[in-house]
């Protein structure tokens, strides 16, 4: 078995797109859900949002940010025609979406894929969508054209979390009728957006990027605290009430393996460097 890559597109140094044939995911897919991808045997299983999909082709499109070993390996080792070993899903609760009026989507880095996906669901039931697509830097920012089919008001903001936060504040200040803010990205970012949503008393739906290793919550690595209660991000989430999610504990838990992840990435980069040198030598000969 395996799931063939139909299309790969490198967008910039930080982001790329993979279109993968995985029809089983789409039979019951609902906006807000995601998949878990195990690139190869011995690989690490990682959750990725279904950014876009094509039911006819049976394919899902993933928008991926290079962060560590797995996302880097998918970029450099997997090409069109190759297969990823496992695509599990869809995973996650189907969020209850309602027509509320004016909705502001705010994404940061990979979080833009997550808000786009649920935003599509919100648009389809008649909400008015505005989109602030946040990025760390100008070089890594993506073009608004990637998201343009869900809103005519898309603002790409680069320069870090604080800058995106300012934009959000300005937007809500100018649009007092905003009835929902939807945010996704690293929890450090979502926490800042929550500050704004809280001040303006706007409902806030946010995305808990917890560490997940299985799709049914057996391992419980993805436990998060919502209103003091334990919830599983893969089962009850990943979308939770942004006023109630405990961001600090999520940030803490997301750092559990940081040293190991750095080691894995360093080792992999060394390996790539060696290969580059070898190839260069060959060329000279």
């Amino acid at each position: 078995m395996g799931f063939p890559i139909l299309k790969k597109e490198v967008l910039n140094d930080r982001f790329y797109i993979l279109e993968v044939h995985a029809p089983h995911v789409l039979e019951k897919f609902a906006p807000g859900q995601f998949v878990m991808v195990l690139p190869k045997k011995g690989g690490e299983i990682i959750p990725l949002t279904v950014f876009k999909y094509d039911t006819q082709k049976g394919s899902i499109t993933l928008l991926i940010e290079v962060r560590g070993k797995s996302t880097k390996e998918l970029l450099v080792r997997f090409n069109e025609g190759d297969e990823v070993r496992d695509v599990v899903g869809p995973v996650g609760a189907k969020p209850h979406l309602e027509k509320v009026g004016k909705v502001l989507l705010v994404g940061y880095n990979y979080g833009n894929a997550c808000v786009y996906n649920i935003g599509k669901g919100l648009k389809d039931i008649g909400n008015e969508i505005h989109f602030i697509a946040g990025f760390e830097s100008e070089e890594t920012a993506l073009s608004y054209t990637l998201f343009k089919d869900i809103s005519s008001d898309i603002k790409v903001v680069s320069g870090g979390i604080k800058k995106v936060k300012e934009e959000v504040r300005d937007f809500i200040d100018a649009n007092k009728d905003t009835s929902l803010v939807v945010s996704a990205g690293i929890p450090e970012f979502e926490k800042e957006i929550e500050e704004v949503a809280d001040v303006f008393e706007v409902p806030h739906l946010t995305h808990a990027s917890a560490i997940m290793i299985d799709p049914v919550g057996l391992a419980g690595s993805d436990r998060v605290f919502v209103d003091g209660e334990v919830k599983y991000a893969s089962l009850d989430g990943p979308w939770f009430d942004g006023h109630k999610l405990d961001y600090d504990s999520l940030i803490q838990r997301n750092n559990i393996f940081v040293d190991y992840e750095k080691e894995a990435l360093r080792k992999f980069e060394e390996e790539l460097e060696k290969e580059r040198k070898r190839a260069a030598r060959k060329k000279r000969v």
Binding site: M1, H24, V25, E27, K28, Q33, L38, G42, G43, E44, I45, K69, S70, E73, R85, D86, V87, V88, G89, P90, V91, G92, I213, D214, P215, V216, G217, L218, A219, G220, S221, R223, F225, V230, L235, S249, Q252, R253, N255, I256, F257, Y260, E261, E263, A264, K267
Partner: protein
């Protein structure tokens, strides 16, 4: 007739890797019998006519009948007889608590403190010989019935049901959420106790009968009950009861606190013990680990932790004698260097300012008789609080229900633990055409019991498919 010779005392012991060596490898430490020893051991069995070992085997294997074949050197035939009742002889030979089952009731034990036949060792031997020799091993199945059955969960219960249904000529599709089939046999039990080659082989034999295993399919998400209902004539639920529980003390959110299932899954399913060279899933090594609990799962966490070069402790609120794991296993982990703290109850996990675990606060317990005549109860000893310094706490305190696959079945009767103990004697639920077995029914038991459930459910499903009769015997 020749007089029967009772060789009560010369039991051949299973050869083990020495402790120093085995704690450095994830390879299996019980090495299996060599041929001559296996045959000698088989000859200890007197092939009882009314064998007392059979009724205490949860799968009711016809033990003397296959041991006789081992005596004759006919391993394939022995394996075939085992497989009349269970498709997992290689697994059960390794992981069954035989000393409490078949081996607890062998006639050789009835006098002079005799020692039982090593039934488990022989079962493993027959299965391994067939696999390792590479001899062709074909199994028959009945002609196609045209009926289709969906099996939910590829653990021992689901795979056993699939096997017996396929032999009856039904088309079977197994839906499994994880990337690999096997259930707890894959992600829970460490390779040090169960060689994955043995497991893979027995799963392959099931697939060879035409069973299709669809991994990466989460029932309730990827496919729903309504879909299955339309496509299949019957459904067997074998999704286990495997959600890792936490101990319920302050500090559980700290960095370094794991459920046993997360700890084991990282290592057993995603091979984190090879990190970073051969696998990308990380797991800490060379730390101080405290495992909390006293059962199978706790032992497996200890075995695993020791092999990661961790200083490894166990804390358990009862005694070794009242724990549910085997005596032998405590000996093994102690030999490998585990430090066992009996009658010790954790009360708080302590962290530093960075949120990392630095220790676990415990209190000593004493056992007091239970007024109602049950197991003696642990009671805290006043002023006995103490701290065990550590970096990691693994909570091996049992597993809870995982109803995702069946919570949306209209009208299905689910018990108060969210499990399906509501099935009747034929593993029927109250919903026509839907059966269940294994841990999802009994909340957590053994591999062999799951196999038995799967087999009996398969028989009941067969009967239902062929006659269309449905009489749920449970309370409506």
């Amino acid at each position: 007739m020749a007089k029967i010779v009772y060789r009560r005392h010369d039991r051949n012991e299973m050869p083990l890797m020495p402790p120093e060596k085995r704690k450095k490898t994830f390879d299996e430490y019980a090495l299996g019998f060599p041929v001559n020893v296996a045959i000698d051991e088989a000859y200890r069995c007197i092939l009882c006519k009314k064998a007392p070992c059979i009724p205490v085997c949860p799968a009711e294997l016809d033990i003397p009948r296959w041991i006789e074949q081992i005596q004759k050197g006919n391993m394939a035939e022995a394996y075939r007889i085992i497989r009349e009742k269970s498709p997992f002889g290689a697994v059960c030979g390794r992981v069954c608590p035989q000393e409490r089952q078949c081996e607890s009731n062998c006639v050789l034990m009835f006098k002079d403190n005799g020692l039982s036949v090593s039934i488990g060792g022989l079962e493993r031997f027959a299965a391994d010989t067939v696999r390792i020799s590479g001899m062709p091993f074909e199994e028959e199945k009945a002609p196609d019935t045209g009926k289709k059955v969906a099996v939910l969960g590829a653990g021992p219960a689901g795979l056993s049901a699939a096997y017996f249904l396929a032999k009856r000529g039904h088309k079977v599709v197994v839906y499994e959420a994880l990337p690999e089939p096997g259930g707890v046999m894959r992600y829970g039990i460490p390779p040090a106790r169960l060689d994955r080659k043995a497991l893979d082989y027995e799963i392959e034999l099931i697939e060879k009968l035409g069973v299709e295993i669809k991994t990466d399919h989460v029932v309730g998400k990827t496919i729903t009950y309504e879909d299955l209902r339309k496509e299949y004539d019957a459904i067997f639920i074998g999704v286990g009861s495997g959600r890792g529980k936490t101990i319920g003390v302050p500090g559980e959110g700290l960095i370094g606190v794991y459920t046993a299932i997360e700890f084991l899954t990282r290592i057993n399913l995603y091979e984190a013990f090879k990190f970073p060279e051969g696998a990308d899933t990380p797991i800490p090594r060379g730390k101080r680990v405290v495992v909390v609990g006293g059962g199978f799962t706790a032992v497996d966490c200890l075995i695993t932790s020791l092999r990661l070069d961790n200083e490894t402790h166990l804390v358990y609120r009862r005694t070794r004698e009242t724990s549910s794991a085997r005596d032998e296993e405590w000996d093994h982990v102690a030999e490998e260097g585990a430090i066992l703290h009996w009658l010790t109850q954790p009360i708080e996990i302590i962290g530093n300012e960075k949120g990392e675990v630095v220790g676990i606060k415990c209190i000593k317990m004493e056992l007091v008789p239970d007024e109602k005549g049950g197991r003696p109860k642990p009671k805290p000893v006043p002023n006995s609080e103490h701290i065990i310094e550590c970096d990691i706490v693994v909570q091996a305190v049992g597993q809870g229900p995982n109803p995702l696959a069946y919570q949306d079945i209209p009208g299905l009767k689910i018990d108060k633990w969210q499990n399906l103990s509501t099935v009747d004697s034929k593993f029927r639920t109250n919903v026509e055409g839907v059966f269940a077995g294994g841990d999802v029914v009994n909340g957590g038991d053994t591999v062999v019991r799951a196999i038995r459930h799967g087999r009996e459910a398969a028989e009941a499903i067969h009967e239902y498919l062929m006659t269309g009769k449905w009489e749920y015997e449970g309370e409506e």
